[in-house]
Subunit: 396 residues, 2 copies
């Protein structure tokens, strides 16, 4: 299905007005080539708020949203285990699809989603991850320009408060895709894969579960070997102790200045009683319409510290651009702002360009599947305490 460039803006429907869907709704509305068309959401109160805010329909059933002819694409932001069902259903209704990361929790689910998109001739984009950030596109463009030579090793650190943000119970249950492996590592894996531009060959990883009251993976250290010979060391901690934004001018992940620092999330959480209170607080703090979810950030979004070592230069993200360290010394290159929100707006733009301009998306289903594969390999490597190759994973 293609879309004519001078047709009406593409209409987008949100499936699931939780954290990701709630953030994305206004960004669709703001995007110059798109329009917000409606939403599907199981919670009646959230539906009412959405309709009061936007004047748009909010349906209890996904099928109702998919039957709406003003919906050209959907943003699937339901719990991970629903991604496959909702993406396949959308494809069968001829809707283009963005699926929030992780694409799914199994390779079989990924395959079903890819097959459904292909069979129905719709575009499939997996996001948002920080690999959509303008800084990552700028790094990739810099490498493609030939100035730096090919990337040879990436070093990535991100230390956050992830595990102490208010959670639903399944988000703390590894068996249901909770913890950092499926929710935070995909950012780093996508970024590394997009920059290195080669399939992952093997991983060697260790994970940590340090808090029995949050019994899922909260930390990971991984060595990632790419087929082209490049490698990445990937370190993540969500334990709200050291915060790597301390070394990035206290600019938060989204590009805002961070005022709530070390230990803040844990202190806030300690005031909430029980899983139900936590889920309620999660809705207040991160649900649709939550304060702080809107507004263009003063700086570029990022996902921790990263050094990209290439044959002839090192590259590192700055607050508003890139530092390039080469034989001439250090240099800073600004990032030119687009008219859409950096990061999440770029997810939308990647889909819009695919649908309207026929530009194949970088983050298609096959790309998204590769990141799920790597996350599974990391979990297996940590459990088996040995290197896991992607070929043995596929053969299992």
């Amino acid at each position: 299905m293609t879309h004519h460039a001078n047709a009406r803006p593409l209409g987008g429907g949100i499936i699931g007005l939780g954290l990701a869907g709630g953030i994305m709704a206004p960004i669709i509305a703001e995007h110059p080539g798109l329009t917000l068309a409606g939403a599907a959401e199981t919670d009646a109160s959230t539906r009412a708020t959405f309709t009061a805010d936007t004047g748009l329909p909010a349906y209890a059933e996904v099928c109702e949203l998919l039957a709406n002819p003003t919906v050209d694409f959907v943003y699937v932001a339901t719990p991970h285990q629903c991604h496959r069902a909702h993406a396949v259903l959308a494809a069968e209704h001829g809707k283009h699809i963005i699926v929030e990361k992780p694409m799914a929790l199994s390779l079989a689910d990924c395959d079903a989603m890819i097959d459904a998109a292909n069979a129905n001739g719709v575009q499939l984009v997996i996001g948002h991850t920080h690999s959509f950030d303008p800084a990552i596109a700028a790094i990739r463009a810099l490498i493609d320009s030939g100035r730096t030579g090919a990337p040879v090793s990436l070093a990535m650190w991100n230390f956050t408060d992830f595990l102490y943000r208010p959670r639903r119970p399944e988000e703390l249950d590894s068996a249901r895709g909770g913890g950092i492996l499926y929710n935070q590592l995909p950012h780093q894996l996508d970024v590394a894969r997009l920059i290195v531009n080669s399939p992952i060959r093997s991983v060697r990883a260790a994970t940590t579960r340090l808090d029995p009251t949050r019994p899922t993976e909260g930390g990971c250290s991984a060595f990632v070997d790419f087929e082209n010979g490049a490698c990445a060391t990937v370190v993540y901690s969500g334990y709200d102790r050291f915060d790597s934004d301390e070394l990035h001018g206290w600019i938060a992940e989204g590009g805002q200045l961070k005022t709530a620092r070390h230990g803040h999330a844990r202190r806030m959480l300690s005031k909430i009683a029980g899983p139900e209170g936590e889920a309620a607080q999660r809705r207040v703090q991160f649900g649709y319409g939550a304060a702080g979810a809107h507004g263009n950030p003063p700086h570029q979004p990022h996902f921790g510290l990263m050094l990209v070592s290439c044959e002839r230069a090192d590259i590192r993200q700055s607050a508003d651009g890139l530092y390039i360290y080469d034989d001439a010394g250090a240099d800073e290159q600004p990032i030119i702002r687009s008219s859409w929100r950096p990061g999440r707006g770029d997810v939308l733009e990647e889909l819009r360009r695919a649908v309207v301009d026929g530009v194949p998306p970088l983050h298609d289903g096959t790309f998204g599947r590769g990141t799920v594969e790597a996350a599974i390999a990391i979990a297996q490597s940590a459990a088996a305490r040995r290197e896991i190759t992607i070929t043995e994973l596929a053969a299992a």
Copy 2:
């Protein structure tokens, strides 16, 4: 051989007045419990300078230094391939020994040195590495206090200009122990081993050789698994591009403020013609009596960025102490200064305490051997592109 506490200060002889020996000579002289006794050096001009400066004998032959009864211990700072011969000779003369890192280039050489020290009843300490830094002792003490719980993962980055400092030809030849694997990684490996306090079980690593005019390993990314289940990701680059001291307040490795920044070493080197010019420049810049080698630094020495994630806290080195990030937030703990030079002075103090007070050294021959073993495993892992366990290394 033991030494009585109220005897004269221990006399130290330097074997090899190059970079390491030249730095160490005045630090021995300054140490309150030691006295500088003489040196052995093949270069006549350096011998003359040493004697003019210190009034002490400088011998052309190591045996002459070892025959001097005022020499109680020697600091072996000759080229790597001579470490075994000089350490064994010193032991046979009943002298205590400090061997500059790397201990040796083979496990057989390490074993011969350990055996000679044991057979002759002398102390053997392997250093200097940055694991002697007061900050590392403070981290270890903090962990031992029980406040943080056990270390679970270490993340280490060091980006320096190592490969572009003026070099002798063998320092750029991996077969003769050149490059970073035997000269820079031992700092990180020693630090990690001392903090984790468990043998290394396996490594998975990649190395880079990016400059054909400096044809040895200049970069490394490694995942290190320890027997107790902790792990470390170790990243090093000596390519004079990004400089990780940028994220440590521009404090240099030795604790001085750094004014020569990105690309400086490469620019200076480009003005020198050929290997002979480079070796001569090396002597001027880093040899015995070179400017900048002396003086107590304003801040603590360090070796790049390191996050020590423990069960209940993260720890990171600050300019003058440690940052401790735990459930209460972030806290900075100062490091109390000793009366000797931090780092290299601590090497001397470890030997002095072993000889005079009978305190077994942390950095004994067995410890030094473990780091050589790990460096060999890293080289093999990079070459074979797979995880290498220490047991298979020992079996080979």
